[in-house]
């Protein structure tokens, strides 16, 4: 049966393996520690929870537009892409390899953060990943994060993303340290109604993050667009030095002063000088980019 659909191949809809298959140059991917090795989580069985042979992350090497890269893809459909011990170790190992090989890394984020069932092991994994990230970046390795999966990029995952040299996001992508339910649970529904999805997207969604300089590139929800975005992000400067950090710190201080008391994304967009801020979520990719690129904040090579 032939596919009748004229729709693009949705990044949001695809599995981690599906994204990788169409992101990289055809036939270029080699997986490390693949599912046939059955590196299972040592913790989940204690909770009677199902395990997965790749522990929800695929790591390996491939090529993007002819350029060799290391890649990691989180599977948001397995435990919300949560980071456990094995999952984290696979990513740490990949980053150590990147440092030694001085090879750029592309990470396909799709995670709610630390896997709570593996609490301490998961938290340790996050800090190891961040350390390995900074070590690799100190050697001039580029780290590109792609954000457009179902689970978003939250918690420890968002901290790792924050250490990348460049981030690419789609409208569907969400990037935030605390997730909507966490904020509601801690601060009350009056502060943040996690079921108001439009509010969630105005606060953590791809368009908002792009406008305030939390990410560097905005693309449509399409695997081909993410591929083009990843190629472009790999061209961006890799430099991570005290001057870059200082300038980003200054930018964040100015951002806080400018928007710190805003109560809604639309208020931030209005202060950025965007016309009809309330209509912004409904704009398609090209109309949004035309408007956004005149007014948005942009980050330095650190964020």
């Amino acid at each position: 049966m032939t596919s009748p659909t004229p729709l693009p191949r949705s990044w949001y809809e695809e599995s981690a393996r599906g994204r990788l298959a169409h992101l990289l140059d055809a036939g270029s991917f080699t997986e490390f520690l693949g599912p046939e090795r059955r590196e299972l989580s040592p913790h989940l069985a204690l909770f009677n929870l199902p395990r997965q042979f790749d522990d929800g992350i695929i790591v390996g090497a491939g090529a993007l537009a002819g350029k060799p890269v290391l890649v990691a893809a989180q599977e948001g459909r397995f435990m919300g892409g949560a980071i456990g011990e094995v999952h984290g170790a696979k990513l740490t190992g990949l980053l150590h390899a990147a440092r030694q090989l001085k090879r750029d890394v592309v990470i396909l984020f799709d995670t709610g953060g630390v896997r709570l069932q593996e609490a301490n092991a998961g938290e340790l994994a996050i800090s190891e990943i961040i350390r390995a990230t900074l070590d690799a970046r100190a050697e001039g390795v580029r780290m590109v994060g792609l954000l457009g999966g179902r689970a978003g990029c939250y918690g420890g995952g968002s901290l790792i993303a924050g250490c990348c040299s460049a981030l690419v996001i789609s409208e569907q992508g969400r990037l935030s340290v605390s997730g909507p339910e966490v904020i509601e649970t801690n601060k009350g529904v009056e502060e943040f109604d996690s079921r108001d999805r439009a509010l969630v997207w105005r606060t953590m969604g791809g368009k908002h993050r792009y406008l305030i300089g939390g990410v560097d590139l905005f693309v449509g929800d399409d695997v081909a667009a993410f591929r083009a975005g990843a190629v472009a992000a790999l061209e961006r400067p890799a430099l991570l030095d005290p001057a870059a950090l200082a300038s980003e710190q200054g930018r964040l201080e100015r951002r806080l002063a400018r928007f710190g008391d805003a109560t809604d994304g639309t208020e931030v967009w209005a202060r950025l000088g965007l016309p009809h801020p309330a209509a912004l979520p409904d704009l398609d990719t090209s109309a949004f980019l035309t408007l956004a690129n005149t007014q948005r904040e942009s980050a330095d090579a650190a964020r």
């Binding site: 049966m1 596919s3 009748p4 659909t5 729709l7 949705s10 949001y12 809809e13 409208e171 569907q172 079921r195 108001d196 999805r197 439009a198 509010l199 969630v200 997207w201 969604g205 368009k207 979520p281 409904d282």
Partner: protein
């Protein structure tokens, strides 16, 4: 001599009591509780309007605040028990007896209160059945209804969510009862007159719209590949061979998948124009792509759906709209249409037993029926022929004299063998029976009776119960599509194979369907945003369904 107008005099007395707290017909919101205490009498039969969608919420809140010493032991006759206040009044003694139809979100609490004796239950009805009783033995003495706006004379605009209002007002007003409406605003001229002023006795300006639940919005992002497979089986195994043009869809994700497969899979099967042209249906957002690609000729609606108003206004050939341009829904008429003028009902359920009885009761919940039993039943009073109806009748009784043979409505239950939380859809004994025992009910709450069900569709295939000749065949046909559930594993393999040879059971491969083709890329829209785009931006999804 007998007084032949006691009801009229009773209403006159209430009118006079009410007018002391009103200015003309208009009651101020702050006087509402005192007003209700003045016009209500202990033991009154009261209809507090509310169903699975719209709610007279301001009137419900006020009723819950009246003094139980003044107003008590009311007999509530209403479609929906949905808001907390609908049950609070039974806790405080304001109300005692209840006849209703649907209780969705209050299903657990209502069961507890019935069990604890706080509620004296009359019966659980279908919508149409309760409406019918409004005109026979449950005529309200007071109706508390909801409208969008009123003019100063009391003409009401009920707008897209007209739903039950005309029926409630007809029974109450002409039955000499009192009609009190909450409105969102009072205007010089209403956009159209849905309820004439002389049927409306008092109006309360709530200064905000009545509450509406977006109950029929199904997010395409949540549709699974198994649901897509069941939808393919239904389209190719039922819609195509029977040529079903007039139909009603239930509320679940399986039928949403069918709606989203029409412009892709259905188009490829060459079914456009041959099936799914005329509907009794709430305005499902998932039907937008099929409407836009020319599949649908006409839809009559039970109610409206939040966010669909502008879209329907822009498609007047498809929807029933008024001179003002907005939708006019009517639950009683649409239920009648679904019962008498549709050849098919297809919907999901939670439990099916070996006789084909189905129920949405699991655990201790009294969810009520809503409209499904009317949609999912054969109308014995039907007399007009149609090809699907005649064919179904012929399958059920192949030797009967054609001119004397009843047709049959296609009543289809669709679902996965294991539902939410891996609960099996097929069971030896319905949970509804346990609930009936516990609450000492005369009737177990069965949604669709086995003798009305004609087909069951699961990912295992299609079972045609019309072709079963006895109770054993029927049981094995059901077991044959029950997959790996206990019921399915206890099937008689030889008998199931014989049923398959007779096409009583059709597997995906028997219908030329490869389960691996059941992919989300077949959905014409995969997100709420796709639906909005398909509508040309006319569909405005509620905030909670937006992921942008």
């Amino acid at each position: 001599m007998r007084d032949w107008n006691m009801k009229g005099r009773d209403r006159q007395a209430r009118l006079e009591a009410g007018r002391r707290l009103a200015s003309g017909k208009v009651v101020a919101a702050q006087d509402l509780v005192a007003f209700l205490e003045a016009v209500l009498r202990p033991g009154d039969r009261v209809c507090l309007e509310g169903d699975n969608q719209k709610q007279a919420d301001v009137l419900a809140k006020a009723l819950a605040k009246v003094d139980p010493a003044k107003v008590h032991d009311l007999h509530m006759v209403q479609s929906g028990v949905v808001l907390p206040e609908h049950l609070d009044i039974f806790e405080t003694g304001i109300a005692r007896r209840l006849d209703f139809s649907y209780s969705g979100p209050q299903s657990a609490r209502i069961a507890r209160m019935m069990f604890g004796g706080r509620i004296e239950l009359g019966a659980v009805h279908t919508y149409l059945e309760l409406f019918a009783r409004y005109f026979i033995d449950l005529t309200p003495q007071v109706a508390l209804i909801a409208a969008v706006s009123a003019d100063r004379a009391g003409n009401l605009y009920t707008g897209p969510n007209t739903e039950d209002t005309p029926t409630v007002v007809e029974a109450t007003s002409f039955g000499k009862g009192l009609v009190i409406a909450q409105v969102g605003e009072i205007v010089d001229q209403v956009p159209r007159v849905d309820i004439p002023a002389d049927q409306v006795h008092f109006v309360v300006n709530a200064q905000r719209p009545f509450y509406v639940e977006p109950l029929f919005t199904r997010d395409p992002a949540a549709i699974t590949e198994t649901q897509i497979l069941t939808a393919m089986l239904a389209i190719k195994g039922l819609y195509a061979p029977y040529g079903v043009r007039r139909l009603n869809h239930g509320i679940g994700f399986n039928t949403a998948a069918i709606e989203l497969l029409l412009p892709t899979y259905g188009e490829r099967l060459g079914l456009k124009g041959k099936v799914c042209t005329h509907w009794a249906l709430n305005p499902h957002p998932t039907l937008i792509p099929a409407i836009e690609s020319g599949w649908v000729e006409q839809i009559h609606c039970f109610g409206s759906e939040v966010g669909m108003e502008d879209y329907m206004r822009a498609r007047p050939d498809i929807f029933f709209t008024g001179p003002d341009g907005s939708l006019r829904s009517n639950r009683a008429f649409c239920q009648t249409a679904g019962l008498y003028a549709c050849d098919m009902f297809i919907g999901s359920t939670l439990q099916i037993d070996l006789a084909g009885n189905s129920s949405t009761i699991t655990g201790s919940r009294v969810a009520g029926f809503g409209g499904a039993p009317n949609m999912g039943s054969d109308a014995r009073g039907r007399r007009h022929p149609s090809a699907p109806w005649l064919r179904a009748g012929q399958e059920a009784d192949p030797t009967g004299a054609p001119a004397l043979r009843r047709g049959r409505k296609l009543v289809i239950q669709i679902g996965e063998t294991f539902g939410d939380g891996n609960a099996p859809m097929f069971v030896e004994r319905l949970s509804a029976l346990d609930l009936a025992d516990k609450l000492d009910l005369d009737l177990a709450p069965v949604m669709v009776y086995g003798d009305d069900v004609t087909h069951i569709v699961t990912e295992e295939g299609v079972a045609n119960l019309l072709l079963c000749r006895d109770k054993d065949e029927r049981e094995q046909a059901i077991r044959g599509v029950a997959g790996y559930t206990e019921v399915g594993r206890a099937r008689d393999r030889k008998m199931v194979e014989r049923l398959r040879e007779r096409k009583v059971i059709q597997r995906p491969e028997d219908l030329g369907i490869d389960p691996l083709d059941a992919d989300r890329s077949l959905l014409v829209a995969r997100s709420i945003k796709d639906l909005m785009i398909a509508s040309g931006g006319l569909y405005r999804p509620p905030s909670r369904f937006r992921n942008w």
